[in-house]
Symmetry: C2
Subunit: 312 residues, 2 copies
C-alpha cells in the first residue's frame, strides 16, 4: 500500500516533531488538534523546530559534528545541497495543514499517527471520533509510550490496521522508531509502517510482539533502577557510580547523566508506581524518597539546569 | 602507612596481571603459588603479558589509539620515554619472585592481594595458612568477585586490615579498581589500598559499604538480564536489541556484544543460580535454556570465536 497523506493527531512535543519530520521527507501532512487553542499552542513549537532544522543543516556546512541522522543520510553533503534542504524545511513548514476538523484531517488519510495524551479514556474517545471519517485502507499508529496497543485496538474498529510506532524525543537526531504490533495487526500494515518509518529518515526497530516499554525502556528502566538503588542505599556517590559504568562499558554517559536527560520526575513516577515502593524501608521506597527530595528542590534534570549534576 | 612489598596470591588470569602491573609501577612483588606446578603454569601467562605490555607501548609511538590507561598517563608520550617504559616492563618481569614458600612470600609483605579460587573453603584455608607469617602492619585484600569480604574477614585474624580490591580483566587497559571494605575495615587500611590502587595506575572506585557485585556488576547484571529476557521471549532479534541500546544511549556496544565479551558461561551461571530459573516456563528459565543451547554448540563468546555474533 502506498502512503502519501499522513495525519498526526496531537501537537505536543512528539506530535509536532513527527509532523514536521514527515513533511520534510515529502509527505502531505495534516496536524489534527483538539481546539483552536491547541492550534495556537502548536504553532510556536513548529516554528521552533523549523529554526532547529535549518540551523542544524546550516551548521553542517562547516561542522561535521552537526550531523543529524534524521536530516541527511551522511555528514558529507555539499553546501548547495544543504541550501536545498534548508529551503525544503521552509516548504515543509508551509505545507503543514493544522485543523480541528475531523473530516478534513482524517477523510483522506493513508496513515494516522496518534500522539495525544496518555490517558486511556482520551484514546478511546479519539479513536471512536475518527472511525467514521477514515478511509477503509487507512492504517493507524499510536505513539504511546506507556499503553499497549492491544489495550486500544478494540477502540479503532480496525485492529488489523492498528499498531504502535514509537518515536524517541528529538526525532531529527534520535531517529529510532520502534514498531510494535498486536496479535491482530496484519503483516501488510506492519510492513507499511516499517517502510514509512524508513521513508521519514527513521531507523525502524522491529518488535515481534508486544512488550511494555518496547526495547529501549525495557533495558533502560532496570539499569537505571539498579544505579538508583546503589545511590539510595549509599553504596557510592553519583560520580563514582557513573564512572564505574562509563569505564566498565565504554559508554559516553553514566546512569545519572541519563537520568538528568530523562528527567527525575519521569524516573520518580516509574518507581513510585511500583508495588515495592509502597513498602516502607524497601530499596524502592528509598529510591522514591531520594528522587522526591531532589524534585522538591527543583532539581528535575537538564531542562531545569540541575538534576544529579549542574548544567549551565 | 607505606606500601613497598606486595604479595599476590594466585597466578590465574587476574593474579598474573596484578603482579606484573604492580611491578611495572615500581613495587617489589612476590607471587605466591600453591605448587611447583602452579609456578610452571604461571610463567607463560606472565611472558604473554610482558609481550602485550611491550607491544602496546611500542604501538603507541605511532598510534594514539594504542593508549592503555594503566601503562601511561596519556597517549602523548615521546618515543624515548616509551623506550624507557618498555625497558621497565622487562625489569618488572625480571624482578618478580615466584615462590611456594609461605614465609618467603608473606613474611615481609606490606600488602597482600588474594586472587585464588572463588571457593570459600579454599579462602579459609589460605588465610589461615598465612596468618602466622604476616607482619603485624600488613593489609590484606581479596580480589573476589562473588564472595563478600565480610564472609572471609574472620578467617584473616585482622578484620580491620582486610577489604576487597576488585580488578577488571585486562587491568592495563580496563584500569578500574573497586575498593570495598566491611563494617570492620579501618579507614587507614581503606585509604592505603585506595592510594595503592592509584599508584599502580588504576582508577579507584570507592564503595562506602558492602555490595554484592560491587558497582559495575550491580548495574550490568540487571541490564543484561533485561536484554536476555527480550531475546528469550522472542520480542526482537539480537541485532535489533543491540541497535536499540546503542542508538538510544550512544553506547559503543549493545548488551549482546557485552555478553559475548563477558562470556555466555558466566551469564548462564548467574541466571541458572537464580530462584526464578528453577520455575519451568519463567522468563529466567527461558533465558537459561537459550544460553545453554548456545553454550552446548560451543558458542560461548568472543574467546570461542562465536557467541551471539561471529568473530574472526
Amino acid at each position: 500500500m502506498e502512503i502519501k497523506n499522513v495525519t498526526v493527531a496531537g501537537g505536543g512535543v512528539l506530535g509536532s516533531q513527527i509532523a514536521l519530520q514527515s513533511a520534510y521527507k515529502g509527505f502531505a501532512v495534516t496536524l489534527w488538534l483538539r481546539s483552536e487553542g491547541s492550534i495556537e499552542r502548536t504553532r510556536p513549537k513548529l516554528e521552533r523546530l523549523r529554526g532547529i532544522y535549518k540551523a542544524s543543516l546550516e551548521a553542517l556546512k562547516t561542522d561535521p559534528s552537526a550531523f543529524c541522522r534524521g536530516l541527511t543520510d551522511s555528514p558529507d553533503v555539499p553546501p548547495a545541497q544543504l541550501d536545498e534542504l534548508i529551503a525544503r524545511v521552509d516548504a515543509a513548514f508551509d505545507s503543514l495543514v493544522l485543523t480541528t476538523d475531523v473530516e478534513q484531517a482524517f477523510g483522506g488519510a493513508d496513515l494516522v499517527i496518534e500522539a495525544i495524551a496518555e490517558v486511556i479514556a482520551e484514546k478511546e474517545a479519539f479513536y471512536g471520533s475518527i472511525a467514521g471519517a477514515l478511509p477503509e485502507h487507512a492504517v493507524l499508529c499510536t505513539n504511546s509510550s506507556t499503553l499497549l496497543p492491544s489495550a486500544m485496538a478494540s477502540f479503532t474498529g480496525r485492529p488489523d490496521r492498528f499498531l504502535a510506532l514509537h518515536f524517541a524525543n528529538n526525532i531529527w537526531k534520535n531517529n529510532t522508531a520502534e514498531v510494535m504490533g498486536t496479535a491482530e495487526t496484519s503483516p501488510a500494515s506492519y510492513r507499511a509502517v516499517v517502510d514509512f518509518a524508513r521513508a521519514i529518515g527513521m531507523i525502524p526497530l522491529e518488535l515481534r510482539k508486544e512488550q511494555p516499554g518496547y526495547l529501549l525502556n525495557s533495558m533502560l528502566v532496570p539499569f537505571l533502577n539498579a544505579a538508583e538503588a546503589l545511590l539510595a542505599n549509599d553504596v557510592a556517590d553519583v560520580e563514582t557510580i557513573d564512572r564505574a559504568w562509563m569505564l566498565g562499558t565504554g559508554a559516553p554517559l553514566g546512569p545519572f547523566r541519563i537520568l538528568d536527560i530523562v528527567g527525575l520526575t519521569t524516573a520518580y513516577n516509574i518507581v513510585a508506581a511500583s508495588p515495592a515502593a509502597q513498602e516502607p524501608g524497601s530499596t524502592a521506597a528509598r529510591i522514591a524518597a531520594m528522587l522526591k527530595a531532589r524534585i522538591d528542590e527543583g532539581k528535575t534534570g537538564v531542562n531545569a539546569g540541575e538534576g544529579f549534576y549542574r548544567y549551565n
